[in-house]
Symmetry: D2
Subunit: 90 residues, 4 copies
Amino acid sequence: MKADRECVTRLLKTARGQIEGVLRMIEEDQYCIDISTQIMAAQAILRKANGEILRAHLESCVRGAAMCGDEREKDQKIEELVEVIGKLTK
Amino acid sequence: MKADRECVTRLLKTARGQIEGVLRMIEEDQYCIDISTQIMAAQAILRKANGEILRAHLESCVRGAAMCGDEREKDQKIEELVEVIGKLTK
Amino acid sequence: MKADRECVTRLLKTARGQIEGVLRMIEEDQYCIDISTQIMAAQAILRKANGEILRAHLESCVRGAAMCGDEREKDQKIEELVEVIGKLTK
Amino acid sequence: MKADRECVTRLLKTARGQIEGVLRMIEEDQYCIDISTQIMAAQAILRKANGEILRAHLESCVRGAAMCGDEREKDQKIEELVEVIGKLTK
């Protein structure tokens, strides 16, 4: 993975911590809206982590393949991006 | 929380498991797209859990307040929903 | 509709204008990314208009029903919100 | 634009028609939720059109540049995709 490992790891550990917090809130039967708010915070962090990973992927893996990869590698990179963008625009 | 506790807990534990999987993938320096795909899967599950929690909240807490809550309680429910919908339409 | 009519109408006319602009760009065979950027701008405006409409709906129609509507009206409001939030969390 | 012109034009004309419909609904002071539903339908169509445009862009423009474009062209394609994905993961 080409993204800043420390940064992405920190984001994901924060999201995991929030989800663990939500699981505790459910056990303690806390209020729905407080639980929803915490889940939406975790979603925002995952969005940020995913954006960071895809940005770094474009700037290194995709650029690398475009610059000096063989045709098969270039095609593979394009197909992967088609799938990712397909999910993001769904 | 009014949503089906078991169902929501299972969804959140699945999302947590996926995030732990992503953290391992990062440690093992796996491919960006595979990591991104796993994060998007966790995001989809969190969306589902949040939808379930908000649905149950509307059908029980909000309905309950609307039916027999005092004015202050009704106002609070409305304000909470304004905030939630504000986030969802951002 | 309870939202500020002028504000929402202006947003929607802007979105319509952008879509008309996109249709012209397609006719002139302009660059994909420029067209995509214009569509995403229209999407952002529609999101804003929808958020404004739902906010005003909650603060007037839903609050009104909660305060002094009959049971059937309250139920209807709840069901409508369940459907809206279902779409927003999909 | 590399996407199927007819298909994308039809989608955009449908979205424009829905927005015109919403403008009429506002003039006729129709119900908030019906207006919101129509806006969300137009948003879904714009998402579909944008996904189609970006898919075709990747498979032709980006692939073309990767295969036989000069370094400057390849860099430009990468930067454009970084910006698009930045917006889609916001």
